[in-house]
């Protein structure tokens, strides 16, 4: 390894500082902040000013798909699903499709189990975020990064 110039090492230091900040961020910062504007706006419309914490919800998507036209997705929320404590809604968002919304699922104590499967379209490799709205008014999120080798067909870029 040769000597690093001052510019290079300071860039590296900045990068490491930024990486550290990102690693610490999820607990304190709403996930909306790190994502493109349209998704952030769509999420804000749903959660308002309430904080969104990570956890309680699991978003299962294959890490790599060949075809973005039908990607299996399963969302599960860890909840007893009783009248006092249940999942009210699950919202799913994406970054790079023409529209940030994928779906909203409305549940209640009668669901018994907060687990939903469907198939989604993804126009590009991107991040998908699921947010659960619980009966106590709290919001919990999970995200998944996807690589799509063949995007869902869209003749128009978003």
């Amino acid at each position: 390894m040769g000597e690093r110039g001052p510019t290079e090492s300071s860039t590296r230091r900045h990068f490491l500082a930024a990486a550290g900040a990102v690693a610490l961020a999820p607990i304190f910062v709403r996930p909306a902040r790190a994502t493109p504007d349209t998704m952030a706006a769509a999420i804000r419309e749903v959660v308002g000013e309430a904080p969104v914490r990570e956890g309680k919800i699991t978003l299962e998507l294959p890490p790599l798909v060949e075809n973005g036209n039908a990607v299996p997705m399963t969302v599960t929320v860890d909840s007893p699903m009783t009248a006092a404590e249940h999942v009210k809604r699950i919202h799913v968002f994406n970054e790079k499709n023409p529209q940030p919304n994928i779906a909203t699922f409305h549940l209640g104590p009668r669901a018994g189990k907060a687990k939903i499967s469907t198939r989604v379209r993804l126009a590009d490799s991107q991040k998908v975020i699921a947010i659960a709205e619980l009966s106590d008014g709290s919001f919990w999120s999970a995200n998944a990064d996807m690589i799509v080798t063949l995007a869902a067909c869209l003749e128009e870029s978003p």
């Binding site: 699922f105 209640g108 669901a111 499967s117 198939r119």
Partner: protein
């Protein structure tokens, strides 16, 4: 023609969470595509799916064009009593599609 396929267990124990699987044939046209002449193909999707258990709504999904063609949705509901589970898909164009399934709860 829009055809729906549903899988509801015929029998269940009282209080058990049962899985309901649904599939419906529909192109879920996004509204972002063009035909060979360059004309925009208008949006035509299923925008709402509702499940009712003996008339009471137990599950609802608001769908967007990001749901794949031939929407496949599975969800759970508690088997409370014998009766009918009614599933309704509401389309952008055309009449809603409804499927009913009977369930016996012991």
């Amino acid at each position: 023609m829009t055809q729906a396929l549903v899988n509801v267990p015929a029998k269940a124990k009282r209080g058990e969470a049962i899985e309901i699987k649904t599939l419906i044939s529909h192109p879920m046209e996004t509204g972002y595509r063009h035909d060979t002449n360059g004309a925009a193909i208008p949006r035509d999707i299923i925008h709402t799916f509702v499940a009712r258990y003996n008339g009471e709504e137990v599950f609802r999904a608001d769908l967007h064009p990001a749901i794949a063609a031939n929407p496949f949705i599975t969800f759970f509901t508690v088997a409370t009593e014998s009766g009918v589970i009614e599933l309704t898909w509401t389309l952008d164009h055309g009449e809603p599609v409804t499927q009913k399934a009977n369930i016996i709860v012991e």
